[in-house]
């Protein structure tokens, strides 16, 4: 019983960060309908950006080991957003948005292969620049825990760093939903996502909306990556491990639904942690994919998606 609640708590904590990570991708996917295979690698860049801002950027010296990492992580978001903005401008916009009409399969083939190419460049470029040594963003909070309880003779331990990760994730989620529901930018994003053609007629620059979504998505995932890095060491090829989790989360939540992507990520975190109760550790990831397949067979539109069919 204690094991169950402990796994549940761990799942909720990691799930919130996975959720944020998926939201970054879900935003891009929902607005642009582009499968971005390089997204995990954008996250890897976010991890390294936070790492270097913290160590070499002087934040460690300025703010210390407890607050410093989180400030560095939050700063990595805007950096990656700018990076994403230019990647979209220079590369992705050539095969997406308003330019896809002339391409076969609405440009999906070109988008896939292009983002695969970008992923290769980022991974291997990362190897050259950062080296293959495992890095991590260390904070004393990573190795200490708060004790909840005891309730009925059992206590649940919450890792401090992960708990703060969760709080940061939730805060960013709230900010993002405010941005999307309350602001002009948010409106243009939703319009471009819902019906790009109609949005164009209403005077919305769809390509610019796409660029904004791409930049935002990169920034958000970068922050999620930084948060993960407080507990998990990383390397230049770490993106491959997470990009699959991200897509599973986005599909689970229902493509096009941003809050759905968050719950999709949360589900994956929970499945991953809870499966350790009954399955050997090596099968943890197999369990994620099995649950993923089960859910999309029974609810192909995801938790929050809707079926749209046109003849």
């Amino acid at each position: 019983m204690e094991g169950f609640f402990q796994a549940l708590a761990a799942g909720l904590l990691i799930g919130a960060v996975y959720g944020l990570m998926c939201v970054g991708l879900g935003l891009i996917f929902g607005v642009m309908r582009v499968i971005n295979f390089a997204h995990g690698d954008f996250m890897m860049l976010g991890m390294y950006t936070a790492f270097y801002l913290f160590t070499a950027g002087g934040i460690q010296a300025l703010l210390g080991n407890t607050v410093g990492p989180f400030v560095a992580i939050l700063l990595a978001g805007p950096v990656l957003a700018v990076f994403g903005y230019f990647v979209h401008l220079a590369l992705i916009s050539h095969v997406s948005g308003t330019r896809t009409a002339s391409l076969e399969g609405e440009g999906h083939y070109a988008q896939l292969i292009l983002t695969l190419g970008i992923a290769l460049i980022l991974q291997n470029g990362g190897l050259i620049v950062f080296g293959s040594v495992l890095a991590s963003i260390r904070t004393p909070l990573s190795s200490s825990a708060w004790e909840l309880g005891p309730f009925f003779d059992m206590s649940i331990f919450l890792n401090k760093a992960r708990s703060i990760d969760m709080i940061v994730s939730l805060a960013i989620m709230i900010l993002l939903s405010l941005l999307i529901t309350r602001t002009r930018i948010g409106k243009s994003l939703r319009a471009a996502a819902d019906n790009p053609t109609a949005a164009t007629y209403m005077g919305i620059d769809v390509d610019r909306a796409h660029r904004t979504a791409f930049a935002l998505g990169c920034g958000i995932t970068a922050i999620a990556g930084g948060l993960l890095a407080t507990n998990y060491p990383f390397h230049p090829f770490v993106g491959l491990e997470y990009v699959i989790v991200m897509y599973a989360g986005v599909v689970l939540g229902g493509m096009g639904s941003i809050i759905g992507a968050f719950w999709g990520g949360m589900t994956i975190g929970l499945v991953q942690q809870m499966s350790t109760l009954i399955l050997p550790t090596q099968l943890q990831n197999a369990a994620i994919f099995a649950v993923f397949l089960l859910i999309i067979f029974f609810r192909p539109q995801g938790f929050f998606g809707r079926m749209v069919e046109r003849t």
């Binding site: 309908r33 292009l114 290769l120 090596q282 197999a286 994919f289 067979f297 003849t311």
Partner: protein, 590 residues
């Protein structure tokens, strides 16, 4: 069988490649030369499913890995020769394709693509857990030939090349058969394909089975070449990505795409790895990635199509110097003017009884009943949102009715799948045109002919006949992408009649046409009716309709307001009201 002309390029390619590979003595280069056909075959297997049907699979490593592990484990545990194991692997791959395809084809578009991602990764972790982290094939010194272990690495290259040649020829045969046509039709528009009489699920299952079998076979061969199998190297995401990369780089949906991609990319990657990777680890990946990015920005649909378009353009600019084929219009107008007996009393071929369909609270079609007599032209009119297209969708099986019956020749067909209804003799066209832009007019029409044709030749004959009936014979060889709206409308008409339906449902066939153009299409439709076709047509252009139809069925808010002869219906105040509102109905009465 394939004509000699199309067998020649693969044969020449194979011979040239074999010649080069025999000249190479460096064993590392020899390995690269072996890997090129391996990845080309894998790319072709991916292309067979994803390139032709448009359903992108991110999980082809599942089949590749199954083949590789079957070949490795069969030798270790059962001491079976790979000569036998590779065909067995192919069978396993085919079965896996069927098992994966059956549930996964319920998903569409991106959902399908991403669901496919999950299979190899789930299997990967299971294999790691089972303890197959690194499986080394046993060395058989006593019987190297029986276990496909050659001292001369050239033989591996030649074997790989033989598999490649076989796969190319197989793909070419499929491309030209009804199999390939069905897959292309699915890619363009699955719904339209169903309406043209194609059982889409059955063809997709055949495609994934064959694709899985080829991928597993080449996976088995790969294991045999490298002699070591690890879960990451055969089930990993990079393996699936390899199939996508070579195929998309070279060009999707053509037999040469994956071959071109593989011939360029594999040596490039390997040589970079060997030359530069030792000095700066990772530089090879960066250059490789840059090469892919650059090519895709310049040729987003792959090298093959870019080259073909370039050649075509040159060819076309030469041709225009001569004469442009402008004969289509002349041909149509040359048809005799309508002199058909108005027939509304013949036998009933289609009867609709109390047909209803609602979406949530919206009653899109309510309680519609009418009869269609043999050789009649029925015009279905009504304001926007009256339920006209929904009615057609109910008639041809896209939608299941909530209530009511659709009787074709007295048999109730309501609720049947579209391809079944098509076989029963109902053809249709669509409001939104769905031509196969890269295919010739004739090939576009052939897709529609397969529902009646038993052989490929028969299908071509039916198609040529249908093209002639709409007056497009003069331009039959042109690519659909070069046609005008009128020609496309006529082509869609030809596609619908190529399946020799007895009843034709035409959904706004005149939409988007100018006055003169609409007249030409009307002439064709009249000619079809004269030849014995029964037609129901949805249209807004009243002028054209009044001249064309025998009787009208007027819908508003999903229900029939009135039906009858054109001269009666157009004067009916309820019809005028539905179209123009109450105020104008009063005006018209005065």
């Amino acid at each position: 069988m394939l004509p000699m002309r199309s067998l020649l390029p693969p044969l020449l390619f194979t011979l040239a490649y074999a010649g080069i590979s025999i000249g190479v003595t460096n064993s590392y280069y020899q390995l690269i030369l072996t890997l090129v056909p391996v990845w080309a075959v894998f790319g072709l297997s991916w292309n067979l499913l994803s390139g032709y049907t448009g359903l992108i699979s991110f999980g082809h490593a599942a089949f590749f890995g199954i083949g590789a592990y079957a070949t490795a484990l069969g030798q270790i545990y059962f001491n079976i020769s790979p000569w036998l194991l590779i065909p067995v692997a192919a069978m396993l791959g085919g079965v896996a394709g069927l098992l994966i395809g059956f549930p996964t084809f319920r998903l569409q578009g991106h959902y399908f693509a991403l669901a496919m991602l999950a299979y190899p990764l789930a299997i990967l972790y299971v294999f790691e857990w089972l303890g197959f982290q690194e499986v080394t094939l046993p060395i058989k010194r006593d019987a190297p030939l029986a276990f496909m272990q050659f001292t001369d690495p050239h033989i591996y290259t030649l074997l790989g090349l033989a598999i490649l040649l076989a796969t190319i020829v197989l793909t070419q045969m499929i491309e030209r058969s009804r199999f390939g046509m069905a897959l292309l039709a699915i890619k363009q528009n699955e719904a339209a394909a169903e309406a043209a009489g194609i059982n889409t699920l059955a063809w997709k299952l055949r495609a994934i089975t064959l694709s899985g079998a080829i991928a597993a076979a080449i996976g088995g061969f790969y294991a045999q070449v490298l002699l070591v199998v690890t879960p990451q190297s055969v089930f990993g995401m990079l393996v699936s990505a390899q199939a996508l990369t070579v195929a998309m780089f070279g060009g999707v949906g053509t037999v040469w795409g994956p071959v071109i991609g593989s011939v360029i990319l594999i040596p490039l990657a390997e040589i970079l790895h060997a030359e530069a990777g030792a000095r700066i680890p990772g530089i090879q990946g960066v250059i490789f990635g840059l090469a892919i990015v650059c090519v895709i920005l310049l040729a987003p649909e792959g090298l093959f199509w870019k080259l073909r378009d370039l050649l075509r353009k040159r060819h076309a600019s030469k041709a225009t110097a001569g004469d442009t084929p402008e004969t289509a219009a002349a041909n149509v107008t040359a048809l005799k003017p309508a002199a058909r007996q108005r027939a509304a009393t013949g036998e009933v071929v289609l009867e609709v009884r109390n047909l209803s369909r609602s979406f949530g609270g919206l009653k899109a079609v309510q309680d519609v009943s009418f009869k269609l007599h043999k050789n009649e032209i029925l015009g279905i009119i009504g304001p926007n949102g009256a339920g006209k297209t929904t009615l057609f969708n109910l008639l041809n099986g896209f939608l299941k009715p909530s209530q009511g019956e659709v009787l074709i020749d007295g048999r109730n067909m309501s609720g049947q799948r579209p391809h079944v209804i098509c076989e029963a003799g109902i053809g249709r066209t669509f409001q939104v045109m769905r031509p196969f832009l890269r295919m010739s007019i004739l090939d576009n029409v052939v897709v529609g002919a397969y529902v009646r044709a038993r052989t490929d030749e028969e299908a071509r004959k039916l198609a040529a006949d249908a093209v002639a009936r709409v007056g497009l014979s003069a331009v039959a060889d042109r690519v659909a992408g070069e046609l005008s709206t009128k020609e496309l409308r006529l082509m869609e008409l030809a596609r619908a009649i190529a399946g020799q339906p007895r009843i034709l449902l035409l959904d706004e066939t005149l939409a988007g046409l100018g006055h003169g153009e609409a007249d030409e299409v009307v002439t064709v439709i009249q000619q079809l009716a004269r030849d014995g076709m029964t037609i129901a047509i949805i249209e807004h252009t009243m002028q054209a309709m009044v001249r064309l139809v025998d009787s009208f069925l007027v819908l508003d808010h999903g229900a029939v307001i009135t039906e009858g002869l054109p001269e009666v219906v157009t004067k009916d105040s309820r019809v005028i009201e539905a179209y123009l509102g109450k105020k104008w109905a009063g005006h018209a009465a005065n």
